[in-house]
């Protein structure tokens, strides 16, 4: 055969193969923005691993829509303020290797994480525990170092089988849990196959880093579902596609601008107030984020049990100019600040909009974006004037201590702006010693009010959660913290003849 013909035949066969490829499979396919790093819950810290681990394992405690702790696989009673008894209920499942989850598994998992030699990143959240023991197969007693009415909210660790912990099993690659799903295959980097226990439905979780490609895969019917990590343009584009169903729900991830309080300029309250009045958050939410966020006034969204009623710093450029003029700044003598952000394109765009809004009141902002490691390193070292970041997955108001107590400066805490207020420190100490949640909530409201006045952060917004489903599936429900629990309910649509519904975009 002449070489030219051979080449043509080769190219044609490639096209033929691609044309005949199987478009419909029994598995439900979800596109992930990032691959999970570690499926061992003792070590997992990235969001994707945490969300997948929720599917593979079970926990003692879950949260209700108001972020109040509720029984997961165990209910609890406080025998004394420092002695809690947890009793496993009938939700406690069977591990993948056939053993039923019992009190020994719970105690062994918690003891393991508290073991200093293990160096688990989950240790810090459990430092309140003095000791624990199995009362019997179903009951576990926790003894605390001090009273804390929020204690049950800290018991969110995924439970591992004691027997396999003792055998030093590699949970990172071969997770064995008692959750609603089992890992059945990990065929290549970035692709996992899970099976739902209730009905055997298989799920392929495929990592697709590029958001545009993720959307194109959904349109091409190569994936059935995607969630979050999309730019507003892509969200708008998805909404315009009749074959897709797009769901949006208020989220709880809190985005803010942080100040360095030790800086000569941003340490000045008047300057922080001027910036707060100069930023038009509603315009950014409407035009840049296409409505996919709610304006924030404090760390906790309105539905949270510890949420606060605070008056917003309204958008008032005139007032901002007045405040700046009072401090001696004018068009001929503008205030110059540096604003640091990550290299994420959407974050850079938001920062550019804020830069432009601040310029309108006479503040010259030098915008600098860095890769995550460098950016975060600078923020921790206090090497900044302004920066923006988000807090993700905050459940309990004890986070205030970590972020704003004067003894929580990095590396001992997350008080990145070096905020120091005796009043806030005292309120936090009192809240920690309070013996019931309503007293604690009241004290945390006072903390929030102080912070609102002092402005170490300018609250920006709570970003919405968003999912898009292809035409083959239905029933996926979004959660406010962006977890993947909705996979427990999602179903493949069945046509009357028993075959799966074909996508309008399939070949």
């Amino acid at each position: 055969m002449p070489r030219g013909d051979l080449l043509t035949a080769l190219l044609l066969s490639c096209l033929l193969i691609s044309g005949c490829q199987e478009q419909e499979t029994e598995a439900i396919r979800m596109g992930l923005a990032n691959a999970p790093l570690n499926l061992d819950p003792r070590f997992a810290t990235d969001a994707t691993s945490e969300r997948l681990n929720r599917l593979l394992y079970q926990r003692l405690v879950e949260f209700d829509p108001n972020s109040m702790p509720r029984p997961g696989i165990a209910s609890w009673e406080a025998i004394t303020p420092i002695h809690y008894r947890f009793t496993l209920n009938n939700h406690a499942g069977i591990f993948g290797h056939g053993e039923k989850l019992n009190a020994r598994d719970v105690v062994t998992t918690y003891r393991q994480v508290l073991e200093p030699a293990l160096a688990s990143p989950k240790q810090a959240s459990l430092e309140l525990i003095a000791s624990m023991e199995e009362v019997d197969e179903q009951r576990i007693d926790f003894h605390l170092k001090r009273a804390d009415p929020l204690f049950p909210a800290y018991l969110t660790l995924d439970i591992l089988p004691a027997e396999l912990i003792e055998q030093d099993h590699d949970f990172a690659r071969e997770p064995v849990g008692s959750g609603a799903f089992d890992l059945i295959a990990w065929p290549q980097a970035g692709e996992l196959h899970l099976q739902r226990r209730s009905d055997g439905q298989v799920f392929h979780l495929v990592t697709v880093n590029n958001p545009t490609v993720r959307v194109l895969k959904l349109l091409r019917n190569e994936i059935d579902l995607l969630q979050n990590d999309l730019s507003p343009e892509l969200i708008g584009y998805l909404r315009s596609q009749p074959v897709l169903s797009v769901e949006q729900q208020p989220g709880s991830n809190y985005t803010y601008i942080g100040f360095n309080l030790q800086d000569r300029l941003t340490g000045e309250l008047g300057i922080r107030q001027a910036i707060a009045h100069a930023i038009d958050r509603q315009a950014i939410i409407h035009w840049v984020m296409q409505g996919a966020a709610r304006q924030a006034e404090s760390l906790f969204p309105p539905e949270h049990w510890a949420a606060d009623q605070l008056t917003a710093y309204e958008y008032n450029p005139e007032k901002a100019r007045e405040l700046l003029a009072g401090l001696g700044y004018s068009n001929s003598n503008p205030l110059r600040l540096t604003y640091k952000t990550s290299s994420d394109p959407f974050r850079i765009r938001l920062a550019t909009v804020i830069q432009s809004q601040l310029k309108a009141v006479g503040i010259e902002v030098d915008l600098r974006s860095y890769d995550w490691g460098t950016f975060f390193g600078d923020i921790k070292q206090g090497n900044f004037q302004l920066y923006s970041l988000s807090w993700v997955g905050i459940r309990t108001p004890d986070i205030y201590r970590d972020i704003f107590a004067s003894d929580s400066l990095p590396p001992s805490g997350a008080n990145r702006g070096r905020y120091a207020s005796k009043t806030v420190d005292q309120l936090l100490n009192r809240a920690e010693r309070a013996d019931n949640l309503s007293v604690q909530a009241d004290l945390y409201h006072q903390v929030a009010a102080e912070l609102h006045r002092d402005l170490p952060y300018i609250p920006l917004w709570y970003e919405d959660q968003l999912s898009a489903q292809g035409s083959r599936i239905n029933g996926y429900k979004l959660r406010s913290d962006g977890n993947y629990d909705g996979l427990a309910q999602v179903k493949l649509k069945r046509a009357l003849d028993g075959h799966h519904v074909q996508s309008a975009t399939a070949n």
Partner: protein, 309 residues
């Protein structure tokens, strides 16, 4: 030949040791701490210290360097700080994908560039030449992060011929290989053209034509054989670059290769994985360049003769 190979192996080992040492020091100089990335800010100083100790990051840098090289001497590249898996295992998972894409892209580049370059040289100054060089200019100018999505839009979404992304069968390979291969084809086509133009002006080509040898034979058997040398050098360099991971193309097409592994690891400050990736890339460059040197002898017998002398 034996002596030549030995000298290349010694040089290669020296280069790789230098690269390993440089990368080790540079990655530790870059701002950002892997413990921060892993634990977040809320971890207690004691937990931080425990993790630092368990990862060996609390040791002085020179001690860490010695440990790293002692591991290398035993073919142990260490473990990922994040996933705790051996680096060699992570690399082994990605190498087949990288090889597959590199070879396919090189195939695309050669298939496009050689005929185009020859055509442009033979038809110098005519419309074919302008067309071929115009394509070449476009190919060099269009970035992969634009070309990739455009090809997806056209061939996957509108025509429905290929999958959008991911690694699977042959159909998954077409678009990433074309995206990656087009840029290389453009450079290669220009090289083929200029190299062939140079040879076409030589006396032996004129003699062959005067003897009445068919034009196709003059070009392919006489001229091209002499024009291959710079082309093969460029191909070697390109293959080295391709094996080093085509980061942008891998990201656009979710191709699980070495390039994307390295970028992910740099972002997470996963030092052992970054070092493993760079070491692999330098090994590939050294291997491909050695192979290219060996190929010279096959293409041009005068080189063998010179070595024999």
């Amino acid at each position: 030949m034996g002596r030549f190979l030995l000298s290349r192996v010694v040089t290669a080992l020296g280069s790789m040791l230098g690269v390993a040492c440089l990368v080790f020091l540079l990655i530790h100089l870059v701002p950002g701490d892997p413990v921060d990335v892993m634990l977040g800010e809320s971890a207690r100083p004691a937990d931080r210290q425990a993790l630092r100790t368990s990862l060996g990051l609390d040791q002085p840098i020179d001690e860490q360097l010695v440990n790293y090289f002692s591991g290398l001497a035993h073919f142990d590249l260490g473990h990922s700080l994040h996933s705790k898996r051996p680096v060699s295992e992570l690399l082994a998972e990605r190498i087949p994908a990288t090889l597959e894409l590199a070879i396919a892209a090189l195939f695309v580049a050669v298939v496009i560039a050689v005929p185009l370059g020859i055509l442009a040289a033979v038809e110098r100054g005519k419309s074919w030449d302008w067309g071929a060089m115009g394509f070449s200019m476009l190919g060099v100018s269009i970035p992969n992060f634009w070309l990739g999505p455009m090809l997806i839009l056209c061939f996957s979404l509108w025509l429905g011929l290929t999958p959008v992304s991911g690694r699977g069968g042959l159909s998954n390979l077409i678009l990433p290989a074309v995206t990656l291969g087009t840029g290389f084809a453009a450079i290669l086509a220009r090289m083929v053209r200029s190299s062939l133009l140079e040879v076409l002006g030589e006396d032996f080509v004129r003699t062959a034509r005067a003897k009445g040898v068919a034009e196709l034979q003059v070009i392919w058997r006489h001229a091209m054989r002499n024009a291959w040398l710079p082309v093969v050098t460029l191909l070697g360099l390109q293959l080295g670059a391709l094996l080093g991971g085509a980061v942008v193309t891998e990201v656009v097409f979710d191709w699980p290769g070495i390039g994307s592994l390295m970028i992910e690891s740099i972002q997470k400050r996963d030092y052992p994985v970054v070092q493993g990736c760079v070491l692999f890339i330098s090994l590939m460059y050294v291997l491909v360049n050695t192979l290219t040197d060996l190929l010279y002898g096959l293409i041009d017998p005068r080189i063998r003769l010179d070595n024999a002398k």
